[in-house]
């Protein structure tokens, strides 16, 4: 266990973080000026960390592959951000947010990390409002809240369906302020292609300038990977086209353990796949489940239009199966339930792989409230619907527009057709309480780490975690490392370790460019995605996973023999970028299957068909699997499992029920 010391502070759960903060070693301002920090990724975690650390006086360099830090995929988060503010007076508290998150994660997250997350959640909202983030407000001028899955309180703060955009632009503006002051050096259109370790300690990175193709060496006393999740291993996901695992994977190959790689979040409400040409899937925010009811026809293969199917012939299966939480069950539960109905033959739409998300009931409910508010007597159904539609439009207008744009159908008139899609990855680089990986000096923040969501993340908690890590955790925890680094002089990038790392990257690029095979990078990516979705997706089983591992191995061999990467190394070459990322996804895909195969239980997003109750619910095995899987890279296709035991001292571990 010596290799996996989570460094959780002693003491009562409620006081661990407070005590840690007041006892963590500090770095004096003069020393901060000579300590350099590299941050890879400029999403919520990266931008927030960069701004906060630069404000403290550290010298910061930020790298992102997009043309501007504002493009990071945090921008696409729609629904909201959780915080235990209890502004609604509905009984929320830090403990409840902590409890909901542990339970939502199917008892596979660390208590101390999650409690800290809940503790700082309120500060995040304060910070964002102070930056000018325009959250939704009530007429009295105070902040508005809505509900998200897996909770029974209203604690989600939002800005229409663009919460991620507004939070990221807030963090981005703080980052740009530091750039303008010269405290942060920004490297956009740069991709990190390896970390550089000197004497077992992370001391920098090799990055490629994506415009000129030039490889660069950068030194840092510490390196923070804030590079997001790896959902694109499935090819089709709600991630951005460029979202990738490369930074995290390169770090993994250099000694950083990978935690719980098989925990993937399949989001229940996405626009279904429409054809082979599809390049990505689009999410319809979980917030829609506040007002949308999910159903399928009771009759198989019902050819009628949804609006012609009478109420009694509809199966509101979530409300039926989970009356306590209804349409607001957590994502893993809602996704599996949709799959169950479709697999049983009740799916709708041309592919029969979709269910309805219907707003008519609540449009009419809102309409009736409006009618009462405006003293309209004897209003007809059309008037009620019209007024209700306005209310729904104000809440979700941009999402409805997006749906219409993509499908060509009007969701105000017809229920949306939705189906689960890959959305988020709970797994990631293993980190301790300080967010440091198993490589000293190398940290992972936000979706890139494995830490807070266990086997399933609750809605509106990704934004919370990214910003918590960046604004409120790393500025403290990094002190415990950097306080010992004040005597370390900047290492010259002529040091042999940098030369070796750069040569290795150069070699790998040259190899990709000289294969000159017959198939495009996308060809391989699509095939990998299909293997992963079919055999390591919403449901997994031993046989399928074993097959997947073999198929991925041979896909990897074929890729390195037959991929065609056009262009050269010394130019703007998006095909080359993609090739490197897909090569890493193939290796990761294998590890995900290995992890899924090892975990002989069902929990959260990891559903092994062999382990389910008679009612089809996930069947956990707390005796044998209450641990974090942390995988060590031992060479191509060779991974060693380390276990971090999960101890529940404050929450009674129990079967998860939303009934």
């Amino acid at each position: 266990m010596s290799k996996l010391d989570a460094k959780i502070p002693e003491g009562q759960l409620e006081t661990k973080w407070t005590k840690f903060k007041s006892s963590v070693p500090l770095v004096n301002p003069a020393n901060k000026r000579s300590l350099e920090i590299i941050i890879v990724g400029s999403g919520l975690a990266g931008s927030a960390a960069a701004a906060s650390l630069a404000e403290l006086g550290y010298k910061v360099k930020v790298f992102c592959f997009q043309d501007s830090p504002r493009r990071a995929h945090s921008i696409a988060a729609q629904g909201g951000i959780n915080a235990a503010k209890n502004y609604q007076n509905d009984g929320d508290s830090v403990y409840r947010l902590f409890y909901d998150t542990i339970k939502g994660g199917d008892y596979r997250a660390r208590e101390a990390n999650v409690h800290r997350l809940a503790e700082v959640s309120g500060n995040i909202i304060d910070q964002c409002v102070a930056q000018g983030v325009p959250f939704a407000r009530e007429y009295g001028g105070l902040l508005s809240n809505r509900s998200f899955g897996g909770t029974q309180v209203q604690r989600t703060f939002y800005a229409a369906g663009q919460t991620g955009q507004q939070l990221l632009l807030g963090a981005y503006s703080s980052l740009e302020r530091q750039i303008g002051m010269g405290a942060v050096q920004m490297f956009s259109r740069h991709e990190m292609l390896d970390i550089v370790n000197v004497d077992g300690v992370c001391r920098g990175i090799i990055a490629r300038d994506l415009v000129t193709g030039k490889l660069e060496r950068h030194f840092g006393h510490a390196v923070l990977l804030c590079s997001g999740g790896y959902g694109n291993v499935f090819y089709l996901s709600t991630n951005a086209m460029g979202s990738n695992v490369t930074a995290a994977w390169k770090a993994h190959k250099q000694g950083a353990f990978f935690g719980n790689p098989c925990y993937t979040q399949i989001h229940p409400t996405c626009i279904p796949v429409s054809g082979d040409h599809q390049s990505k899937l689009t999410l319809m925010s979980e917030s829609l489940r506040n007002d949308g009811r999910i159903w399928v026809p009771k009759q198989k293969d019902d050819q009628r239009k949804p609006i012609d199917i009478p109420e009694e012939e509809r199966d509101y299966y979530l409300e039926r199966r989970y009356p306590a939480f209804g349409n607001l069950v957590p994502r893993d539960v809602a996704s599996r339930a949709a799959k169950e109905r479709c697999d049983a033959g009740y799916g709708v739409g041309s592919s029969k792989m979709a269910v309805y998300l219907d707003f008519t009931f609540n449009m009419d409910r809102y309409g009736k409230i409006e009618v009462t508010k405006h003293n309209i007597h004897n209003a007809d159904a059309a008037t009620i619907r019209k007024l209700g539609k306005e209310v729904v439009k104000e809440k979700y207008g941009n999402l409805f527009d997006m749906y219409k744009q993509i499908t060509g159908e009007d969701p105000y008139e017809m229920p949306m057709r939705i189906y689960p899609a890959v959305h988020y990855t709970m797994g990631g680089l293993w980190v301790d309480y300080n967010l440091m990986t198993t490589v000293p000096g190398l940290y992972a923040l936000g979706e890139a780490n494995f830490s807070d969501h266990g086997a399933n993340r609750l809605g509106a908690s990704a934004l919370m975690q990214g910003l918590a890590d960046g604004y409120f955790v790393i500025p403290y925890t990094i002190g415990s490392y950097l306080s010992n680094e004040i005597r370390t002089k900047a290492i010259s990038t002529d040091h042999e370790a940098f030369v070796v790392a750069e040569n290795k990257v150069k070699e790998s690029i040259n190899k990709l460019l000289t294969i000159n095979g017959t198939k495009s990078v996308d060809h391989f990516h699509k095939r990998l995605g299909k293997i992963m979705w079919d055999k390591c997706g919403m449901a997994r089983n031993e046989k399928g996973l074993k097959e997947a591992i073999e198929e991925i191995k041979s896909l990897r061999t074929e890729f390195w023999k037959d991929v065609r990467v056009t262009g050269t190394a010394d130019e703007f070459n998006p095909e080359l970028e993609k090739a490197g990322r897909v090569a890493d996804f193939i290796e990761l895909g294998e590890l995900m299957c290995v992890d899924a195969l090892t975990r002989n239980e069902s929990c959260g997003g990891h559903f092994r068909e062999e382990y389910q109750t008679e009612e089809g619910e996930a069947l956990r095995d707390d005796v044998n699997f209450a641990f974090v899987s942390a995988w060590e890279y031992k060479g191509e296709g060779n991974f060693e499992l380390h276990k971090e035991e999960l101890k529940y001292e404050n929450i009674k571990i129990a079967a998860r029920s939303y009934k």
């Binding site: 906060s52 501007s68 930056q131 429409s274 993509i406």
Partner: protein
């Protein structure tokens, strides 16, 4: 693929910033009306790669209309024929079988072409760095509800903050002016109490940076508003002009 549209594309090809570019003709066949415009480009690039040719470089990332990275000038209009839609959300059902479609990069001195359809928009970042923020360090904030903001102001600030920084406003403007982009940020922060302490320095510094980047002047033609995929209103420009004049005349500093 199962599509039935056959199209001719005239696409701007340019090797890098230093070379000259030209429009090159391409045929794409069997395009489905359900494809997005960028997925049609994926099909074309796949074909070019198979033929051993250099695929077309274009910027794109989220493909859901929010990151602001996609930036194609389609048949003379930024983001194509529809209003309120980014290139990635434009679908082929907006075109007809047999159409010829001209695709160019954003054209502006301040947005040099990197390759083909990808341009450098870092000028926008530098404008934000000049003042598009509230100077609040992490950890200094009061409780969020201690600062009530009227719903109308909050909504108006949100409408301005919806800008995705894509640069369509600049591309649409005959002067390549960035006034809509800059004014959206100035407006957002001047509508909110948090933005008041730096109100004057913000507008002065952001406008100065905008000028330094080589963007043109605003002559109120309104093309920016018409082409903005997020419906950012011209009234923001009016507000910024008021703020600017107020800052110039009312401040002792400037």
């Amino acid at each position: 693929m199962s599509g039935n549209m056959n199209l001719t594309l005239k696409v701007w090809r340019q090797k890098n910033t230093k070379t000259n570019g030209e429009l090159v003709d391409y045929k794409v066949n069997e395009i489905s009306p359900d494809m997005s415009f960028l997925e049609m480009f994926d099909v074309l690039n796949e074909k070019l790669i198979t033929e051993g040719k250099d695929p077309i470089a274009f910027d794109h990332d989220c493909r859901e209309g929010i990151c602001g990275m996609c930036s194609m000038h389609i048949n003379g209009r930024p983001h194509g024929p529809l209003q309120g839609v980014t290139t990635c959300q434009l679908h082929m059902r907006s075109f007809k079988d047999g159409d010829t479609i001209v695709v160019e990069p954003w054209r502006a001195q301040a947005f040099p072409v990197i390759k083909d359809l990808a341009v450098n928009r870092s000028a926008f970042d530098r404008i934000i760095a000049a003042g598009g923020y509230v100077s609040i360090n992490t950890g200094n904030a009061q409780d969020a509800n201690n600062l009530p903001i009227s719903k109308d102001n909050a909504d108006e600030a949100f409408a301005a903050a919806a800008c995705i920084g894509c640069g369509a406003c600049v591309a649409a403007c005959k002067n390549a002016s960035a006034m809509l982009f800059v004014s959206a940020k100035v407006s957002q922060l001047s509508l909110l109490p948090q933005g008041q302490p730096e109100k004057q320095s913000r507008v002065i510094n952001m406008v100065a940076q905008m000028d330094a980047e080589g963007f043109g002047s605003c002559t109120n033609t309104g093309a920016c508003e018409a082409e903005c995929p997020k419906g950012i209103s011209l009234s923001n420009i009016a507000r910024m002009n008021r703020e600017f004049i107020g800052a110039e005349l009312g401040s002792e500093k400037y």
